[in-house]
Symmetry: C2
Subunit: 198 residues, 2 copies
Amino acid sequence: MYIPDPISKLIDGFMRLPGIGPKTAQRLSFYVLSMEEEDVMELAKALVRAKRDLQRCEECSNITDQKRCRVCGDKGRDRSVICVVQDPRDVIAMERTKEYHGLYHVLHGAISPMEGIGPDELSIPDLLKRLEDETVQELILATNPNIEGEATAMYLQRLIKPFGIKVTRIAHGLPVGGDLEYADEVTLTKAMEGRREL
Amino acid sequence: MYIPDPISKLIDGFMRLPGIGPKTAQRLSFYVLSMEEEDVMELAKALVRAKRDLQRCEECSNITDQKRCRVCGDKGRDRSVICVVQDPRDVIAMERTKEYHGLYHVLHGAISPMEGIGPDELSIPDLLKRLEDETVQELILATNPNIEGEATAMYLQRLIKPFGIKVTRIAHGLPVGGDLEYADEVTLTKAMEGRREL
């Protein structure tokens, strides 16, 4: 099968991205040919810049293009609360609620013995360093509600208890707009356990 | 919502591609951060090269990185048959069969009054020029089996008949490995019409 070299290189490139198989990669590559040259250059530049200019915030380990991320650098944020999340995307999701005004700490993963990820592979030592500062009064564990996330939350809770800091875990329950009928048993049990008086 | 500038630029870039919405663009962008720098550079370079180095073959209008595409430049191909397709991807699909040894002509679209695409927007004038050469004996119309493709085939058939060249249309019928039960009525009717004696 003959595909011109520049196209097959591009197909290979797209196929390195997650969820993009040979068919999609081919479709995207041929679409690129029909795009404005300017837009293609923008995308190519954005790829290079995203890889080269981003680093971890020296305080919370979130990704940033400065030394400190915008949340850590914001004097209006409540510095007594730290919300621990697994991923930079979780910070974006949390910020979207516009309800949380504390700081974050990004672990960049969760403890997973299956994948060989222990506490040392995560940014947990940096978190402990931050807790030495006495302004921190509450640590919200907002790791994912799955096995790895729960294990990480449990591990952190035990590790941090001696510091005398309040450690909380985000609530489990039914998603808003969801349907009770289709909720799985574990979620439903958690929702019952977590019921509150109105 | 705060996303570092290099990331949001990359998300915007990915969103320009077809079938990639905000969620997928965000997922891809964050994945790029975890990729090897070398792989990201490869992809960026491939994007630029695909856009800059590719042109249309001066003979068949297929995309190529040379003046003439590999099929047109291949002396072993049967120059008496031209297969007319809508898209460079169709050439790839056809070559994959390894059964066709003639030449191609890529229209780069189909006649579609709804989208304002008439015969002049396609590479039909170049096709007519090729037919002046008397080596061409058969023109296979392999445009897509949908309304635009059929209309284009019909148009070409009428246009080319005066040249005294045999004009054929690829067969309609049941796809191999398909299920008669699930075939739509039109396909089934076409399959019946196109039946052949064994």
